[in-house]
Symmetry: C2
Subunit: 324 residues, 2 copies
């Protein structure tokens, strides 16, 4: 199987008629025309074997995850997915691997109406690079995208879904932790097939003041919001502990560590004015995505942790950094 | 140096005011608003060490080349570059390498008014994935992009610039060939710092009937045009031999092999009606890019080679394929 057979067989489908894709896979470029009155939100994520996924992961799940982590960036901006490119470095052209990989990838793409419009295929150490495109409405020449920079003092702080379970699964894989089989399997699904919070992101446009996706751990990604907004925050650790599904299989200190600095969660962390609590709940209900209020934005820079009794906790959790 | 310091130090610059980039590096997504009346041309290319470049290449040249090969895809569509994302897997965060790499990359970006708007940075085997965005005018709802599919029987066949010198340099690096030092240095510059034919591609809109960039070798990339257009072609090998600058350092058979199947050229192969010869010359002059007429489009499928005496040549040259 050659390079172009491989692309034709696993990665070529006709563009959806009437959609924004004027030309899909097969030419030097794809052509996309965003809907009138929208801007294009663009994000790239690269996944490397042994770092973003284990070599043992089922290819179908890997296909899902490679797109999911990119859709999660669109979700953080409140964008509606429209298309993506896929660049693949593969050790060899193996149909046994490519067939389920492309199935997992395209199933998630179809679920979000996100078309594969182009990319590249090369021989090399396994590496998946997706660039994803979404639409965000413009109003009076300004985009309605959720940004990291809009958090205001007094805003509530929220997180969607669960945090920390993906990290728990990784620690089990690494042999650092032992939990009951059903706890591990649920956590493993979180790690291998995250659900990008696309519907929630869209529902939060005009409601949330700032948002980011949690990929490097809550502390790190909330940190981006705080720095870009010029504010600080306080997290209620008891509320945060409720975010990890497997909390009963862990001691509280370890569970809190996974919640705060686990990574690989692909949830949204966002802020909204205190008078928008009903609107946040409505967005949560509309998108069928649970959200948990875990703290508040404060004027004092930095991040503080308080327990239910109001005591300040000192911890050393750090965000994931590829080069630290 | 951590991941975010690295991005801030080497890869973050403010978007150009009034340009299509509403939001650049630093949020979950970038935001781009194509100019009114245009579609966005999109292409991704991934470069792997040892396959697309040698580990010994100067980082500044590699930065240039990583973007150049992507701009070459925009050139093939006649698009005007506007922006790109860069995803990088690096063995380590090495400022000595990153500084010249980013210098070479951004110098070429600036020369084409193409803004770095986002991307990803991760630890892993060296891998560079760029996704590039260009604008193509729409007319009556149809894009004016040059496509591979428009070649017509009777059209002339052209190639820009030079073909085969990059491959010559590679063969010298591999120890398969020996040439005078000045021939090697000129060929090496072609291999390491290709010039994407962006101005020519734009000038050929409305003139050329089909176009592609030559990255895998002329036979392979012309083959894409022929298949998608449902036509064949005949190449005049004497005209084609004029495309390799180093022809005097080679025997004719080897020179022709490099021209036909060398790869890594990043020139344009294109077709145009015979009555458009003056317009093609005007596009060449306007873009200050030489073009050579090397053959004709014919009804009979496949590619034929004829010498100046009209004799049909039989050769075994093949396009580069990553998995063959």
């Amino acid at each position: 199987m050659g390079e172009f057979d491989l692309i034709a067989r696993f990665f070529t489908r006709p563009p959806r008629p009437g959609g924004p894709t004027l030309l899909g896979v097969g030419d030097d470029c794809a052509l996309v025309q965003p809907s009138p009155g929208t801007a294009l939100a663009i994000s790239s994520d690269m996944l490397v074997e042994g770092r973003h996924f284990l070599s043992t992961v089922a290819p179908e799940r890997l296909g899902h995850k490679a797109l999911a982590v990119n859709l999660s960036d669109l979700a953080a901006c409140g964008a509606t997915p429209v298309a993506f490119t896929l660049a693949l470095a593969l050790p060899r052209a193996d149909a046994q691997w490519l067939e389920p990989f492309s199935r997992g990838l395209l199933a998630l793409a179809d679920a979000h109406g996100c078309e594969l419009i182009g990319g590249d295929t090369t021989q090399g150490p396994l590496n998946l690079c997706i660039t994803v495109f979404g639409e965000v409405p413009l109003q009076g020449g300004r985009s309605q995208a959720l940004l990291r920079s809009g958090a205001q003092v007094g805003d509530d702080l929220y997180v969607s879904g669960q945090l920390g379970d993906a990290r728990l699964a990784l620690e089990v894989f690494r042999g650092q932790l032992s939990v009951p089989a059903e706890v591990f399997e649920a956590a493993r699904a979180r790690m291998e097939t995250p659900s990008p919070r696309v519907a929630l992101g869209q529902a939060l446009r005009g409601v949330a003041s700032a948002a980011a996706d949690v990929s490097d751990g809550l502390i790190g990604d909330l940190g981006h919001i705080l720095r870009r907004s010029g504010v600080g925050a306080c997290i209620d650790t008891d509320a945060a502990l409720g975010l990890i599904a497997a909390r009963h299989a862990l001691d509280a200190d370890q569970a809190l560590g996974f919640v705060l600095a686990g990574g690989d969660d692909y949830e949204l962390v966002f802020t909204a004015p205190a008078n928008a609590r009903e609107a946040v709940q409505a967005a949560s209900a509309h998108s069928q995505t649970p959200v948990t209020r875990i703290g508040r934005i404060e004027a004092e820079p930095g991040l503080r942790l308080r327990d239910a009794q109001g005591r300040l906790l000192q911890r050393q959790d750090q965000a994931f950094d590829h080069f630290k």
